[in-house]
Amino acid sequence: MRTTPILLASLLLSAALSAQADAAPTEPRAVFDRLATEWQAAQTAYRTAMTAVTESADYKAAQAAKDAAKTRDLLASVRKPDLVAYATRGLEAARACSGEDQMRFLVWLAVENGHGDSIKQAIELVREHHVQSPQMEQLLENGGTLSRAVGADVAAALLERVVADSPHPRARAWAMYWQALSIRRDRNADAAAKERAGKLLAEAEQLAEGTLLADRIAGPRFEKERLQIGMAAPDIAGEDVDGVPFQLSDYHGKVVVLDFWGFW
């Protein structure tokens, strides 16, 4: 029968497709989602295990007995997620794809998974292929640790390229912001450099108008003009940790301690 090979072929194909659904994904976004989800899960599991240890009777007893060696051993019994393994996988996956798919991996590596060697390679790829990517904004939002991770020269070179070549105003704004900050942190910066830092910040603030970065740049001015003792506190509108919207001004009529904090 002539149809048999076709039937056979389609049977094989559907078998192959159902096998593929169970196997590791190959499509870059699926690979990325899987990696990111696994990483998140590993971190959550680590934290949960750490909490279980610190709440255990053994740990509390060791703490009460001031047995530092014992508490250290108990804490060390929880294995940390293998950062290097995830970073290696991320980098491999990044090299296997291109364009914005690749940039997605690289941003993730740089932002979430700051393992030394992989972040250097990731930034190298960014410089080579992705200076104009719209995802540059996400990368540079977290640019504060970049120079520590890849070295000041590499970081500076990347920022310069972004300022010169990125078509995305907010990416350029972030690059200028970090440039200005590095000038301000440089104890040898002369008056001309400081003036340049001021100009960079002013331009970045304009480019980033309406964003968090603009607020951050305006922060010192806002504090000076609006947050001094004796001034009416500016309102805050936001959500509480359960997602319920509320405002600082809801508490008018009460003495309020406003505490910027976190557990970390």
């Binding site: 968090l212 009460k254 003495v255 309020v256 976190g262």
Partner: protein
Amino acid sequence: MIPHERSLVERLQNRPFALLGVNSDKDKSYYQQQAKELGVTWRSFWNGPKGTGGPISSRWNVNSWPTIYVLDHKGVIRFKNVRGEAMDQAVDQLLAEMDAEAK
């Protein structure tokens, strides 16, 4: 820090006083877990998934943690960065002012 604030909130639970946080943990589930464990009963704005780089702290130019503002009942900033005993004294002073005004 947290035990002190908890005792302040407990002591003043029947007074016109509120401790409000701007919580800057990136991960809300971590917050929920820790808050439960350490007995955090007061309300906090959530500063969003960017943590300390979130919108409220950016606008308020917060660069060190914790940063504390104490407001009187009219919403005027009266103290900054008072900790421990000094925080209690500041709050007590403002509550006393409020009582005096009501008389």
